[in-house]
Amino acid sequence: MKIAVLIKYVPEATASWRFADDRALDRDGVEGRLSELDEYAVEQAIRLAEAGAATEISYLTMGPPRAVDALRKALAMGGDRAVHVVDDALHGTDAAGTAAVLAAALRRIEADLIICGMASTDAEMSVLPVMVAERLQLPAVVNAAVLKVADGSLTVERDTEDATEEVVAPLPALVSVTDRSGEARYPSFKGIVAAKRKPVTTWSLADLEIPADRVGAGGAATEVLAVRPSPPREAGTVITDEGDAAARLADFLAANKLL
């Protein structure tokens, strides 16, 4: 069984995030990393390989040249090869365009199982796994907490709003995993050195035969009209408990008609 893992290069959580002039997230000059939530997907793929269920792990990302760092990080954790879709025309691509590009790349990678994180830590849309699956006409199971593969099918345990479910889907399939699926390993130096020797293939839009007018800000099905900082919350009152905090807090709730 071949596994493809979709990963994303995102800004560091501690960086100061801002928008560039074109109202896209300013990624220049901001430290980036493999999205923390994607590390769980990488971990699950490696565990399947370690358990003998997978024979090959490929990573796929679409992003600027620096996004190769995310691929290298994943390769340092484990896995075999990586594909980086990089093209100047991709800047500003929306979710729909990204899904189209990733689906085109996945058709070439031909994986039996596609694993993704539950969301990216920057855009946080969580739509990409399903959009990719829909484009590939694959079953998708999102938010898996436990993941098993046997006899050509995928079994997932997951929590929904009101229940814990066991969901089965035939392979090939796509699954997104949550942060409960299992702590991601910390890559060893040995892994980092090995990762330098693993192949990373670069594909352009032309390689994927995707017309440039379907991607980038110009080809996006959505447009950003305005960005502005959230109005600052009015500075609140902070008191130190001297035995009267409960009464003062109750006063506050009452005054705001919250009791």
């Binding site: 501690t14 990393r33 910390y186 060893s188 130096f189």
Partner: protein, 711 residues
């Protein structure tokens, strides 16, 4: 005479063969080990000084008075006894042999007898110590717990035998008229008087038998020595000669493979990173293992051992030695398939592992406080070995206590253990009534005297922020111009290096060195003892040479120069806790005490373990970021030691210590075991309170809310 000669030489030949084979094997084992880091022979003067003070002068042994004196007696006794052995061999050939030149001087006879008796006294003292502090009586508290006790007793017994057999021989020699000394040898003469009534014939026999017996016992002793911990008699000289000078504390060495520093950007195919197995240790490591005398001074001071954890520096080194010897036949064999099964199994036992030579709990219990290295009379470099083993575990196996992953990830992604990131580095300046200059990538202006290295704790930890602000205010008051790096500062890399993640350390350190060099920084003041140590001792390894001061050093100078004047009395008993990385590792003992001493009203008390023997707070060696689940907590043990002097203020000079001890005092307060008013604080805060005018707002000292160390 001929019989005497033949028997004597025969015995000697057998003993030398047995001992020689052993020594040759040990030599081959040392040769098979990795080359040591370069610099083991550099600095001849310091090495000679160490030989004179530590070997001849017995300096480190004498730090423990009774056992130290006993050992000095035995050591000097053996040096002098060596003369009697030469005399004995001479007497094999010529019954009345004497050493040339001084061989018949009565004072030499006296000296020899004096040290023969001194050796006997030392044996008795040693025996007394071993009985009194036997593990059977004291359990884990005994420094001999885990040592090879039978071998130690056997050696004492053999020394005793050497003494009496020698005296017997010498007494008979007097009676037969073959003794080289006309007088002075008082003890031998006493024995002579005792056995004279046996008659001339008997004394004749006793002389020969005594000589062969004495030589036989010495030869047996030689064989015993090369097969036991008493090998240190020979190896200690070399181990001290090739040890790190002035001591194996302060900086950690970079990662060496085959004697060359490893280039982590482009590592060689055959590079060994850290210690994966026993043969990855250097010959100096092997020499360390061979030299351990199992005396347990290290164990008696080890914070891990003293709080019920499985790590004892002594048993760690003993375990490595025993393992090296068990695996030696395999390691030294040309054809490995013909090695016996036991040795093969030993060689294949993992170095670190639950079923390995070193249990992971042992490896991860170390706080790198250096108490063991400080104590070791033969200069074994325990901390270096532990970090080297950690290096392999972290870098190659990615194996470490899982909670430490948070530390490593935070360092990697945010540049600090708390994971707060550069943006929050100057939050501590909020509310100061003077501006703090922040470089933010600019060059250090010429009028700025010091770069104030704030440190991650100083920037992000609640209590440490107060110290940072206190130091800033004191410097401002004293008119010292300083600047901070602001968001360009990152962790110095101390916790990364000490957990064994050398790659991460190199990255962080290289980045800081570049920042500091680009800013033209020459003089740095740091509040964190760990930052101080890394900046001062480790950054030179990466091309960053600065004059680094700890804040207690700078503040003490400012007080001495009258630029800071403590005026307001602080009516309190203050106990000062020496942070390991300030005191033991860097020998800064006096400045913090001078500072506290300069505060009117303050009464300084010393805890039982202080200065060189200070007891770790539990946070070093990246332990700050690991769970402490085995035994009792180190910080509580140290807190109790400090509170024993009933202080009002526990003062430290390192944010980690203040945090750990603060937690300890808070816990004891919850348990009503310490008075409400007792606080833990940095020395600088005490000084600030005294420097401020009495009319000014009294700076309340750090409160003791328990804080979670985890980021």
């Amino acid at each position: 005479m001929a019989l005497r000669l033949i028997l004597g030489l025969l015995m000697t030949a057998v003993a030398f063969t047995v001992a020689g084979r052993r020594l040759f094997m040990l030599y081959r084992l040392g040769r098979a080990a990795q080359p040591a880091d370069p610099g083991r022979t550099r600095g001849g003067a310091a090495r000679l000084r160490a030989e004179l003070t530590e070997v001849l002068g017995q300096r480190k042994l004498l730090a423990w008075t009774v056992p130290g004196v006993a050992h000095a007696l035995a050591f000097w006794g053996f040096l002098v006894l060596a003369l009697t052995i030469v005399e004995g061999y001479g007497a094999l050939f010529q019954r009345d042999f004497h050493l040339p030149l001084i061989g018949t001087e009565p004072w030499l006879g006296f000296l020899e007898d004096l040290f023969v008796l001194a050796t006997l006294v030392s044996v008795l003292i040693f025996a007394g110590i071993r009985v009194r502090h036997s593990p059977a009586r004291e359990g884990r508290r005994s420094r001999f717990f885990g040592s090879h006790l039978d071998a130690a007793w056997l050696v004492l017994f053999m020394i005793f035998n050497v003494v009496w057999s020698l005296l017997l021989y010498r007494g008979a020699q007097i009676n037969t008229g073959n003794f080289p000394f006309p007088g002075g040898a008082f003890a031998s003469e006493a024995v002579a008087r005792l056995i004279r009534p046996l008659g001339a014939g008997a004394n004749d026999v006793i002389e020969t038998a005594g000589l062969l017996l004495a030589l036989g016992i010495v030869l047996l002793f030689l064989v015993l020595v090369v097969h036991s911990k008493h090998l240190h008699i020979f190896t200690a000289v070399g181990n001290v000669a090739f040890g790190r000078r002035p001591r194996a504390l302060g900086a950690l060495l970079p990662v060496y493979s085959a004697g060359r520093p490893v280039d982590f950007e482009d590592p060689g195919e055959d590079d060994t990173i850290g210690r994966a197995s026993i043969e990855d240790f250097t010959w100096k490591g092997m020499l360390d293992f061979a030299t351990c005398t199992e005396c347990g001074r290290c164990q008696s001071q080890c914070p891990a051992w003293n709080t019920g954890k499985p790590l004892s520096p002594k048993t760690l080194i003993m375990g490595l030695r025993d393992h090296a010897l068990a695996a030696a036949p395999y390691l030294l064999a040309g054809d490995k398939s013909r090695v016996d099964a036991l040795a093969t199994a030993a060689a294949q036992t993992p170095l670190v592992g639950v079923d390995g030579v070193v249990h992971p709990d042992v490896l991860w219990s170390c706080t790198t406080c250096g108490a063991c290295v400080e104590q070791c009379p033969v200069d074994i470099e325990h901390v270096d070995h532990i970090v080297d083993m950690r290096r392999y575990q972290v870098l190659m196996e990615s194996s470490f206590p899982p909670e430490a992953g948070v530390l490593l990830r935070n360092l990697e992604h945010a540049g600090d253990p708390w994971g707060r990131g550069a943006g929050a580095r100057t939050e501590w300046t909020d509310g100061l009534d003077f501006p703090v200059r922040t470089l933010d990538g600019e060059r250090l202006p010429d009028d700025v005297e010091y770069l104030f290295w704030v440190g991650c704790a100083g920037a992000f930890d609640d209590r440490a922020q107060r110290t940072t602000r206190a130091v800033a205010e004191l410097l401002h008051t004293a008119g010292v111009s300083f600047a901070v790096l602001g968001g360009d500062e990152t962790c110095t890399g101390d916790p990364a290096r000490r957990i064994g993640h050398e790659v991460l350390f190199q990255q962080l350190a290289a980045q800081n060195v570049e920042t500091l060099n680009n800013a033209g920084v020459r003089r740095i003041v740091a509040t964190c003892a760990h930052c101080f140590n890394t900046l001062a001792n480790e950054y030179p390894q990466l091309g960053g040479a600065y004059e680094v001061l700890h804040h207690t050093q700078l503040l003490s100078r400012l007080v001495a120069d009258g630029r800071l004047v403590p005026v307001t009395p602080v009516d309190a008993t203050i106990t000062y806790h020496d942070p390991c990385y300030l005191g033991r590792h860097n020998r800064v003992f006096t400045p913090p005490r001078e500072l506290l001493g300069s505060v009117p009203g303050a009464r300084l008390t010393e805890p039982a373990r202080t200065r060189e023997t200070s007891f770790c707070c539990g946070a070093g060696g990246a332990r700050m970021w690991m769970d402490e689940t085995i035994g009792t907590r180190i910080n509580e043990t140290r807190t109790d030691e400090l509170l024993a002097g009933r202080p009002d203020i526990v003062a430290a000079a390192c944010p980690y210590c203040v945090d750990m001890l603060g937690d300890g005092v808070a816990l004891r307060r919850q348990q009503d075991r310490v008075d409400e008013h007792v606080v833990v604080t940095d020395v600088a805060e005490v000084l600030l309170r005294s420097v401020r005018e009495p009319a000014g707002p009294a700076a309340p000292l750090t409160a003791n809310e328990p804080r979670k160390a985890q980021p």
